[in-house]
Symmetry: C2
C-alpha cells in the first residue's frame, strides 16, 4: 500500500467533511472559525479515529463526524494556546494565528464556537443514526471531555506554562505532555474502537499504541522546534527555547531524545501485533510521526 | 408556597452539587475553576432545568447533573466575556473576575476546563443511569451545544461586541440577546422537559415561556446596569454606557423598556397556563426575574 497517498486521501476526506460541517453565514465569527479549522493541518487525530474504527471492523466512513469533531477540538486548543497571554505565537499552519488575523476577542470566541460545534456534531441525530449505538456515542463524548478538561488538555497546558523557566524532571515533562497532547490522542483511538464495537482487549492494545504514539509525537515536536524551519513547520521554531521551556532534548539531550523517540515508535508498533495486516496504516502512521519534518 | 425559601433551597442544592463535581486536586487550574463556578451566582439556569423537569413529571432530582452542567457553561461564558479583550470587567458575582485573580491565561483555561467538565457530567455513566434514556441525554447535549456554538451564545457575544458604538435597531438588539442569553435559557427549559419525557406540545409551551423569560431577563439586566449599584449587582454598573453599547433602555427609553419587561413577563406566565398549579414556581420565577435587584 502507498501510505502517503492513502494518508493524503484520508486527510482530504477529513478536510472536505470539515468544510461541510463548518457554518458559513457571513459572520466574522464563522469566518474566523473556518480560517483556523480549514488551515492546512496534518489531521492526524481525525485519521487516528478513522483508522482505529476501521481496524476494529467499523463499516465504511460512518465515524467521520467524530474524526471532524476531534479536529475541531484540536483547532480550538491551538487558537487558545497561541493567544498573547499564553504562548503568544504569530504563525500557525503556515498562516497568521487566529488572533493576529481577527483580533483576540474574535479568536477566543471562534475557538469556543469550534468547541461547541464539535459536541453538536458528535451528538446530533445524523451521527447517532450512522453509529446506531447511543451508549457508544455517549462513552466517546465522555472520554473526549475527560481528555480535554481539568484532568487532561487544559491542565497540561496550564502546567506547561507554569513550568516555564523552571527545572523540571523528565517524569514531570512526560506528565505534562501525557495530559496536553497524549490524552486527546488516546481518546481518538478509544473513540474509533468503541464506536466500532471493539472489545476491551482490543481497546487496551490500541490504547497502549496511542500512549506511545502520543509521547513519540511530542518528542518529535520538541526536536522539530529545535531544528526545523518556519517554512517546514508552518509555525515559528525555537519558541520553546525562547520561552525557557523544558523539552525532551533540553532535559535528556538531543541524542537521548532521538533514542527515546525510536523506542516509543517500537513500543507503539508492537502493541499492534495482534491486529496483523489490518494495522498496517496505524503502524506506518507511527513511522510517519517519527520521520515527519513538520 | 414561600417562593423565596424554595428558590433558596434549589440554589443551595445546585451549589452543593457544583461543589461536589468540581475537582480539587490542588492545581491552580482547579482553584480558578472552583473560584468562578462557586462564586455566589443566582443559579437561575440550573433552577430552570430542575423546574422544567419537575413539572413535566420528572422524578426527584435525577436531572441535577444537567442543572450543574448549564451553570458550569454559564460560568465559562462569563469568564471569557469578562476578559480584557472582551468586556474587560473587574468584578463579577461580588468578587474580582477570574483573570483579575488568576491572570488571563489561567482564566481562559479555567473557562475551557468548565466547558469540558460540563460535557463530561452530562455524558457520564452516572448521569445516564439516573436519566435512563440515552436518546434524551443526547438530544439535550445537542441542544445545549447549539445554544452555545456559532448559532448561539458565541455568535451573540461576537455580534454584541461588534455592535458597540453603532446605531442598531430594536430588532438587531433582540436578535443579539436571543443568541447571547436566550438560547441557553431555552435550552435549559428544553433539557428539563426532554429528560423528563415530555411530549412535543408541552415542550413547545415551555419554550414559549423560555423565550419570553429570556428576553425579560436581558431587559432587566440592561435596566439594572443603568440604575443598580455595584454592591447590589456584584458587578460594576454603567458598563454598557461606558462601552457605548446599545441596550433596551438606550434604544426605546427607560419607560418603554419597563413596559416591554412587564409585557414579556405576562407572555411568559400565560404560556404556562395548561400546567396549572404545577407551574407555580416557573411562573413566580418570571416575576422574580422582573423584580430582582441583582
Amino acid at each position: 500500500m502507498d501510505l502517503s497517498s492513502y494518508l493524503a486521501d484520508m486527510k482530504n476526506l477529513v478536510d472536505s467533511e470539515l468544510d461541510g460541517v463548518l457554518p458559513s453565514d457571513g459572520s466574522v465569527l464563522c469566518e474566523a472559525m473556518r480560517y483556523s479549522a480549514l488551515a492546512p493541518g496534518k489531521r492526524i487525530r481525525g485519521i487516528l479515529v478513522l483508522e482505529s474504527f476501521r481496524i476494529c471492523g467499523g463499516y465504511e466512513k460512518k465515524v467521520i463526524p467524530f474524526a471532524c469533531a476531534v479536529e475541531l477540538l484540536h483547532t480550538f486548543s491551538l487558537i487558545h494556546d497561541d493567544l498573547p497571554s499564553m504562548d503568544n505565537d504569530d504563525l500557525r499552519r503556515g498562516l497568521p494565528t487566529c488572533h493576529k488575523k481577527f483580533g483576540e476577542a474574535t479568536a477566543i470566541l471562534a475557538a469556543d464556537g469550534l468547541f461547541a460545534l464539535a459536541y453538536e456534531i458528535m451528538s446530533c441525530k445524523d451521527t447517532r443514526e450512522k453509529i446506531d449505538n447511543n451508549g457508544a456515542v455517549l462513552d466517546s463524548i465522555e472520554r473526549i471531555s475527560l481528555a480535554i478538561g481539568p484532568g487532561g488538555m487544559c491542565l497540561g497546558q496550564c502546567n506547561d506554562m507554569l513550568s516555564e523557566g523552571k527545572n523540571i524532571t523528565l517524569d514531570d515533562l512526560k506528565n505534562i505532555h501525557s495530559k496536553k497532547t497524549g490524552a486527546l490522542i488516546s481518546a481518538c483511538i478509544y473513540c474509533g474502537a468503541r464506536l466500532a464495537g471493539a472489545g476491551i482487549k482490543q481497546i487496551e492494545k490500541l490504547e497502549q499504541y496511542a500512549s506511545h504514539v502520543g509521547l513519540a509525537f511530542q518528542i518529535k515536536d520538541d526536536i522539530l522546534d529545535l531544528i526545523g524551519t518556519s517554512r517546514e513547520l508552518g509555525k515559528n521554531p525555537g519558541s520553546d527555547e525562547k520561552r525557557d521551556k523544558a523539552t525532551f532534548p533540553s532535559i535528556v539531550g538531543k541524542e537521548k531524545a532521538a533514542v527515546m523517540l525510536e523506542n516509543e515508535r517500537t513500543l507503539a508498533v508492537s502493541a499492534l501485533e495482534e491486529f496483523g495486516e489490518k494495522a498496517e496504516v496505524l503502524s506506518s502512521l507511527a513511522d510517519h510521526i517519527v520521520s515527519r519534518t513538520r
